[in-house]
């Protein structure tokens, strides 16, 4: 596997992991992000949840496009648009002093719109730029397989990490019960 393919795999794994988590969180609890948006743009109060769900679907599609060779570049246009949107929302949150939890990665995201969103947006823009810069993968099937496998491992690892307190308590209770 060429060095460029490895760079593509690493970039797209980070991208797909972020987008899958963001998409899942927003699909389940769109209300949180909608409240954060309506704090910045009061006119969005009614249609907020719909916009958030549409964004979640776009994030899911963009994640999926990383493993479909023909959709790799069109998908990256979507990724760049999402990245630019996140940066703009982060800047707007900072300027207006947003207080509402953003819920960008689900109900566990308690920070308001701000620097984290700017950082995530810049990361998406960077990965999109890498995808545009890199030549098509030499072995597309292998690249797709590695990308999906590593994304699954990273996503499950992130789930375990964010639920570590609950897991620790459950494991300790089970261990105590068997003693």
């Amino acid at each position: 596997m060429s060095a460029t393919d490895s760079v593509l795999i690493c970039g797209n794994v980070v991208l797909a992991t972020l987008l899958i988590r963001a998409s899942a969180g927003k699909l389940v609890t769109p209300g949180l992000t909608a409240s954060a948006l309506s704090e910045l743009f009061p006119g969005l109060m009614r249609s907020g949840s719909g916009i958030v769900r549409a964004t979640a679907l776009a994030e899911g599609l963009a994640a999926l496009s990383t493993v479909i060779a023909t959709l790799r570049l069109p998908g990256q246009i979507l990724v760049a648009l999402l990245g630019a949107g996140f940066v703009l929302l982060g800047v707007a949150g900072l300027l207006k002093g947003s207080q509402q939890p953003c819920g960008c990665f689900g109900a566990s995201s308690t920070r308001p719109l701000g620097t984290v969103n700017i950082a995530a947006g810049l990361l998406l823009l960077l990965v999109a730029a890498v995808n545009f810069w890199a030549p098509p993968p030499a072995e597309p099937a292998n690249v797709a397989a590695y990308t999906s496998m590593c994304t699954a491992i990273a996503s499950i690892g992130w789930l375990f990490w964010s639920n570590r307190d609950r897991i620790r308590v459950m494991v300790s209770a089970l261990r105590a019960r068997t003693e």
């Binding site: 797909a16 899958i20 988590r21 998409s23 899942a24 969180g25 699909l27 389940v28 609890t29 899911g60 994640a63 999926l64 990383t66 493993v67 479909i68 060779a69 689900g106 109900a107 566990s108 099937a141 797709a144 397989a145 990308t147 999906s148 496998m149 994304t151 699954a152 996503s155 499950i156 789930l159 639920n163 307190d165 620790r168 308590v169 459950m170 300790s172 209770a173 261990r175 105590a176 019960r177 003693e179």
Partner: protein, 183 residues
């Protein structure tokens, strides 16, 4: 086949993450399922006037107080975790009633870890292994439970979801009782 497998893999990953988000959301909503107009519910199955055979040193200050609340929490209940987080934000010496925390846990280390994580050492607290003391003396085996003690004896037991609501209820009841006593 070569294209379908990675797509299927990603879709399964997305499904697992969505499922986890739904479970997390469900767990968060369970306390909200309590009737909003009655977040503190008196429990009738406990015998008023019951006094423990002995007070553990960690809680003995509450046994001597004219009125005190013992909050029974467990590390494996999500409402208890919320209550513990709430207690971490309160100032024990500024409360209208002295509060003690009893952590009923399957193992001492689990209870101590829970108490340390939520800074419960600021309150008189006891890690009750397998709930031996609390269930042995008062028959309490559900959490969270609030026990209102008057001079070392059980005056009332409550089911609750927020410590501040419980304190408010107890203080209000005390004020009503005092007014009735005067008139």
């Amino acid at each position: 086949m070569g294209v379908i497998l990675p797509i299927a893999f990603l879709l399964i990953t997305l499904a697992i993450v969505v499922l986890y988000a739904m479970v997390g959301e469900l767990a968060r909503r369970i306390p909200d399922g309590e009737p909003a107009e009655d977040p503190v519910r008196p429990l009738t199955e406990f015998q008023q006037g019951t006094a423990p055979t002995h007070w553990p040193d960690d809680l003995s200050a509450l046994g001597d107080a004219p009125q005190a609340l013992i909050l029974v929490l467990s590390p494996v209940c999500s409402t208890c975790t919320n209550v513990a987080k709430e207690l971490a934000l309160l100032a024990p010496d500024k409360l209208d009633i002295p509060i003690g925390v009893l952590v009923s846990a399957a193992g001492r280390n689990i209870g101590e870890e829970f108490a340390a994580r939520h800074s419960l050492a600021r309150y008189p607290h006891l890690v009750d292994e397998k709930g031996a003391w609390i269930s042995g003396n008062f028959g309490v085996n559900i959490s969270p439970t609030g026990l209102l003690m008057e001079r070392g004896a059980l005056a009332q037991a409550y089911s609750f979801t927020k410590a501040t609501d419980l304190i408010q209820t107890v203080v209000k009841a005390r004020e009503v009782k005092a007014r009735e006593g005067v008139s």
